[in-house]
């Protein structure tokens, strides 16, 4: 049986992380526990657990200078109810499709990032939002773009002495209309792990031109991926006309860097093709 810590102060948590865990395998950081228990069914619970849920300053979702801050303990339900602007429509839609209401009430946005599943529903949205990960340790704090923080399947750039304290989402470009969406493909209505998913955000100026488009695809690579080629191609185009002829603008080459796999949910070839279709739909939606 492992050790268990539930400090109320961030400093105490960071202090614990700075030292060795009793079992020698490092501390397992615990928040909503919605990924912790499922991966241990029928097995003894032996981890040394650092439960961060009593640390008050990790809670909350709030406006911050230049953007918004999502605390490490903010749950999907809290995110959905936070009254965030249209920029977050895609992330909000993801919040309502992660597990059922029960998982949404317990699971955290940051936990979704740190669990680093290739099918993490939060990731395409956070990538499209250019979210930054706030990481703290006893020696200081650092900010890492979410795309650099998640390294691979179940791998993140968190040092053993570090704790993720929250996410920062920067404001959209000034003087633009922002539209955001999320397309999730699964084999059933609720409680479904995505076969593929797409997040798209468009910032459109007063003249109807695309100032910036940000598009990311999930469950089609070890880590969700932005589509830089497509984003570059869309910049400057008239939004409405592009939406009406989306096939002409979104090409398979834009998704070439994806590395989908075959699994029980779908074949690699299907994922690649479905992702293209989802990207087209998402782009058409945010530009229309």
């Amino acid at each position: 049986m492992g050790a268990y810590l539930r400090p109320a102060q961030l400093g105490d948590a960071l202090g614990a992380l700075a030292g060795p865990a009793p079992g020698g395998a490092g501390w397992t950081v615990l928040a909503g526990a919605t990924d912790h228990y499922p991966s241990r069914v029928g097995r003894p619970l032996v981890d040394d657990v650092l439960d961060v849920t009593a640390i008050g300053r990790l809670r909350g979702i709030e406006a911050a200078p230049g953007g918004w801050r999502i605390g490490a303990l903010a749950t999907w339900a809290e995110l959905a109810e936070a009254g965030l602007p249209a920029l977050f429509d895609g992330l909000r839609a993801a919040a309502l499709t992660i597990g059922g209401k029960q998982i949404q009430a317990r699971g955290t946005v940051v936990g979704n990032v740190c669990n680093a599943s290739p099918a993490a529903d939060g990731m395409p949205n956070l990538l499209a939002l250019d979210a930054q990960v706030e990481v703290a340790s006893r020696t200081g704090a650092r900010i890492v773009p979410v795309g650099s923080f998640v390294l691979g399947n179940r791998r993140i750039a968190r040092g053993p002495d570090e704790l993720v304290t929250g996410l920062f989402v920067p404001e959209p470009l000034p003087d633009t209309t922002v539209r955001s969406t999320f397309e999730k493909l699964g084999s059933r209505a609720y409680l479904v792990i995505s076969i593929a998913m797409v997040a798209a955000i468009a910032e459109i100026d007063a003249a109807g031109a695309i100032v910036r488009a940000r598009v990311a695809v999930g469950a089609c690579s070890e880590v969700a991926q932005r589509l830089p080629g497509l984003e570059a191609a869309l910049a400057g185009l008239p939004a409405a006309a592009t939406a009406a002829s989306v096939e002409a603008h979104v090409h398979p080459e834009h998704l070439e860097h994806l590395r989908p796999i075959d699994d029980v949910r779908g074949s690699a070839a299907y994922r690649r093709e479905a992702a293209l279709e989802l990207v087209r739909r998402a782009v058409a939606e945010v530009l229309a």
Binding site: M1, Y4, D12, T34, V41, G99, A189, R265, A274
Partner: protein
């Protein structure tokens, strides 16, 4: 901050206490801070109304309300409940629910609505569902149907198809909005004598299910319990050696016993068929499927839970497994069982007419290849039970569908006479055929026998999925022909069924499938052959329909093919060729009556035409829009299904008595697995006796207390046990009338009240009252020694069948159910996703003893058929949980309209037949037909996942 400032770590063994409020009571709980709240509630606080289905947040059975939100208690560490307010199902029922302090019965209304609407079948998901519904209505008092589905989307139900659950929640919502307060659910149970058959009575065992007080397999946990856990093979095929167990036990002092194959006291081979006893309780040196038990650990719960299987000294030598039928049938393939050369367990055959001539003669001919995969029962209650040694007998309190077969199998394994084994069924949290095989029984029985202490096992979800039987994967090739007018000519069918590592119910492949392989139609000639093939896959057993759902994919695809080639309407082609009363079946049986397929299809016709026209109009609108939108289509499936065992005896015996203290008792060994057998049998027997259903006390199946009413399978309980219940009631009525010396009259059984002794009053047509004083009667023996009866009727019924000859000719069943369903589906052609919008289901049930329950069976059958059609695929080692293995959620269900056709079965109780399995069979064919109608692709490999549908659409364009 210094390292010294780090708080001292909390030892998990002796942690600080947590203070929280549970159901209004402040509690202080000490324990492992990482202990799951579900375990704390159930094991420490005795609140077993909270159920555990997966421990992974996949099923929602353990849903509670915590600080105002619905959460899964299996995912909450005890430490995180500090300072929180928790409400469980027990809090709904007994907290603010009962109008204390004049408060409205805010939650009780939900429970009453669930009962009234038949929203609880097996009841294992019901507490979680009620907690989710309660949280939903508190948050959104005006929730519409979509919001209700969203609100309960995190709770899986395998029985109801969610239809009546959504109805019940909507009804409770309306009551709350109207400010109404429900009455006691018990009060709704009353119908007058003689009016029970055909009434929408709530389940007689339903109140306990909605209150969370029904006790399932895992809810029995006596003191001084030993936990029994099997160590299972991680390999599909391997030899193994067990290492130094003495040293292992020394290093784990809490272990009381370790069981291996050599410790099986009796025969280490069991199997449900007399000819199929090939499965060991513990493997002896080699394993034939992943998940096979090789060793069992027995000890206190904490010790057993703390052992990692990988630390148990077993040396594995994996071998290349036979994963497919093709590999198992290949020349030179390893022989899995000595008695079955070529790995063929059994072959079946039905032949009538000249098949070659009939096929050659057809104006149109169609062929199809069908491939289906393993389907998991996915009952929300994993297998669980407790065994106790009582002197020289053993008693098992266990979740099961078939107590008497369990008794005989356990006796074999322990080397005891069957009468030395007692099986006490618990409430059964879903079966669907999967609890017809032994589950936890062998190992808890052996452990209890050896240790003398109560021994308990509760399977985890992955263990349940790895170790329990599956639906047979099938490879079918079939050909059909018709003449130019659309009269069916020849049907040739060959099906190979993967029966897995052990026989289980594999022999049904040989007998039930050929009888039904050609569908519910008349043909000039039929040749149907089947084989059950051993592989290293999970044993395939009984699952709602026993191979017939797989076969129906083939015959219905061929009917659609023939209709398309003939240019005929698919419904009309089926109607023109439907088997009717007076016809001979392909097995040569003349159906005298109750063959209502024609009536079902005629009832569906207007719906069919309207839905087809609507789909056409929708597609035209889509085409003229951007051409990328969803396309609609309508498909149809028809079925028939023989009730009860195939050409084998399957008697039921039921007793009905009057006790000395004036109660009417039904001693009934039929297990209610949620389908409603108990209610149906009370309805039938009370009408037969002539008393109100609400006055009948049910004594439910226990092999010491009730006679053998057979297994709850093969859709047989309403027909077979229903007849036994009717006979018992009629016999008791005859005895009472004879004692009263009247020819006919109304019977009033009166318990002792106000000092007046218990009596029966019989009033004849002229109003004369004859009184039978029960005290004056002698005891009469009934199976149950605990019930003292002064009058008792005993009914036994066994369907009238004959053995089948080598051409499958004979009378396999006394009665057949018929039905047809049509499905409106919407296909997203760009992604290949399929959404079923509407299903209209018409079923000939002979007589609907309880229409609410019949509808519930149809809804649930459709849900399972939809799952089989679109999403369910069990892959050993890969989908052993309920997030990789997908079953339909509340959001996947279509609108369903049920049409109950009542073409009375003369040999059925009050004309009734069965509906449990029939409801599932036509669903997948109807959905597949709808996909075909929508986008022109014929999917014959199941499930029709988005990638398969999309690939077929792409193939069409090539």
């Amino acid at each position: 901050m210094t390292a010294e400032a780090t708080p001292s770590r909390i030892s998990r063994e002796s942690s600080a206490a947590v203070e929280l409020t549970v159901n209004g009571r402040g509690l202080r709980i000490t324990g492992d801070p990482m202990r799951r709240l579900s375990d704390v509630l159930r094991d420490d606080l005795g609140l077993t109304g909270t159920k555990v289905g997966c421990e992974a947040g996949d099923c929602g059975a353990c849903t509670i309300r915590m600080d105002g939100r619905q959460v899964e208690s299996c995912l909450v560490p005890l430490a995180q409940t500090a300072g929180s307010t928790v409400t469980t199902i027990e809090g709904l029922a007994h907290g603010d629910a009962w109008g204390r302090d004049g408060a409205p019965r805010v939650t009780f209304d939900l429970q009453a609505a669930f009962l009234r609407h038949g929203a609880a079948q097996c009841g294992i998901c019901t507490p979680g569902m009620l907690m989710a519904a309660d949280a939903l209505l508190r948050e959104n008092p005006r929730a519409d149907a979509q919001a209700i589905r969203d609100g309960i989307g995190g709770v899986l139900c395998r029985c109801t198809g969610y239809v009546k659950i959504v109805e019940a929640i909507a009804a409770a919502r309306d009551e709350r909005l109207a400010g109404a307060v429900s009455g006691s659910p018990a009060a709704t149970l009353r119908v007058p004598a003689g009016a029970a058959v055909g009434a929408r009575l709530p389940k007689v065992d339903g109140l306990a299910r909605v209150l969370g007080t029904a006790r399932y397999g895992a809810d029995h946990r006596p003191d001084d319990i030993l936990a029994v856990r099997a160590v299972r093979s991680p390999h599909a095929r391997a030899r193994f050696e067990i290492g130094d167990l003495a040293a292992f036990r020394t290093s784990h002092p809490g272990i009381v016993d370790v069981l291996t194959a050599g410790d099986v006291p009796g025969q280490n081979r069991y199997g449900i068929y007399p000819t199929g006893k090939d499965q060991p309780a513990l493997a002896d040196g080699h394993v034939r499927h992943r998940g096979e038990a090789v060793l069992a650990l027995v000890g206190d719960e904490q010790t057993i839970a703390a052992i990692d299987d990988r630390d148990v000294p077993i040396e594995w030598h994996p071998e290349e497994p036979l994963r497919t039928i093709e590999q198992a049938l290949a020349p030179g393939a390893p022989q899995l069982h000595e008695a079955s050369p070529g790995n063929i367990l059994i072959e079946g055959r039905l032949a009538t007419g000249d098949i070659e001539l009939a096929l050659a003669d057809g104006a149109v001919t169609a062929e199809v290849d069908v491939q289906t995969t393993h389907v998991e029962h996915a009952y929300i209650e994993p297998e669980a039970g407790v065994a106790r040694r009582v002197g020289d007998r053993i008693e098992l309190t266990v979740s099961t569908q078939t107590p008497y077969m369990d008794r005989d199998e356990v006796a074999l394994i322990l080397g005891l006479p069957p009468t030395s084994v007692r099986i006490i069924p618990t409430a059964c949290g879903g079966g669907f055929g999967g609890k017809l095989d032994l589950g936890v029984h062998p190992l808890i029985a052996i452990a209890a026998w050896r240790t003398g202490r109560p021994c308990r096992a509760v399977w985890t979800r992955p263990e349940s999925m790895a170790a329990s039987p599956k639906r047979h994967p099938a490879r079918i090739h079939a050909t059909a022909s018709a003449d130019a007018e659309g009269r069916l000519k020849g049907f040739r069918f060959h099906g190979d069924f993967d029966t897995g590592a052990y026989a289980s119910w594999g022999p049904t492949v040989a007998n039930r499938v050929p009888v039904h392989a050609m569908g519910p139609y008349g043909w000039d000639a039929v040749l149907a052959t089947t084989r059950a093939v051993y592989t290293d896959n999970p044993p395939a057993g009984a699952f709602r329909g026993f191979g017939v759902p797989q076969a129906s994919i083939a015959h219905e695809a061929l009917m659609d093919d023939l209709a398309a080639q003939l240019g005929q309407d698919p419904l009309e082609l089926r109607l023109a060729n439907a088997i009717r009363a007076g016809d001979r079946t392909p097995s040569g049986q003349r159906l005298a009556a109750s063959a209502g397929l024609g009536a079902c299809l005629e009832a569906l016709r207007p719906h069919w035409q309207a839905l087809r026209a609507g789909a056409r109009a929708h597609n035209e609108r889509t085409d003229t829009a951007d051409g990328r939108g969803a396309r609609q289509g309508v498909g149809i499936g028809a079925m028939w299904y023989g009730i009860g065992n195939t050409a084998l005896a399957n008697p039921s015996t039921i007793e009905m008595g009057v006790t000395r203290d004036g109660r009417v008792v039904l001693l009934c060994g039929a297990v209610d697995i949620g389908q409603g057998a108990s209610t149906v049998l009370v309805q039938i027997s009370s009408d037969a006796l002539g008393v109100a259903a609400g006055d009948v006390d049910l004594v439910s199946g226990d092999t010491d207390r009730t006679a053998d009413a057979g297994k709850s399978s093969a859709s047989r309980q309403t027909f077979v046990s229903g007849n036994a219940a009717r006979l018992a009631g009629e016999e008791l009525r005859r005895q009472i009338l004879a004692l009263a010396e009247v020819e006919d009259g109304t019977i009033d059984v009166q318990p002792e009240r106000a000092g007046r002794p218990a009596r029966i009053e019989v009033t004849d047509a002229a109003g004369r009252v004859a009184t039978i004083e029960l005290a004056e009667l002698a005891d009469v023996p009934v199976t149950d020694a605990e019930t003292s009866c002064v009058l008792a009727g005993r009914g036994t019924f066994d369907p009238d069948t004959t053995p089948l000859d080598r051409d499958g000719q004979g009378v396999p069943y006394q009665s057949y159910a018929f039905g047809a369903q049509i499905a409106l589906v919407e296909v997203d052609p760009g992604l290949g996703t399929v959404k079923v919008r509407k299903i209209v289901a018409a079923h000939d049930v002979g007589r609907a003893i309880n229409p609410t329950q019949v509808e519930g069976q149809i809804h649930g059958g459709i849900a399972q058929g939809l799952g089989m059609a679109l999403m369910e695929a069990y892959v050993p080692g890969r989908t052993e949980n309920l997030h990789d293995y997908l079953i339909p959620t509340a959001g996947d269900m279509p609108e369903i309209e049920c049409i109950l056709v009542e073409d009375p079965e003369p040999s059925g109780p009050y004309g009734a037949k069965g509906v449990g399995e029939p409801a599932l069979i036509p669903t997948a064919p109807a959905i597949l037909g709808g996909i075909r109608d929508a986008v022109g692709v014929r999917i014959t490999e199941l499930p029709a996942t988005p990638d398969r549908v999309r690939a077929a659409i792409l193939d069409l364009g090539r």
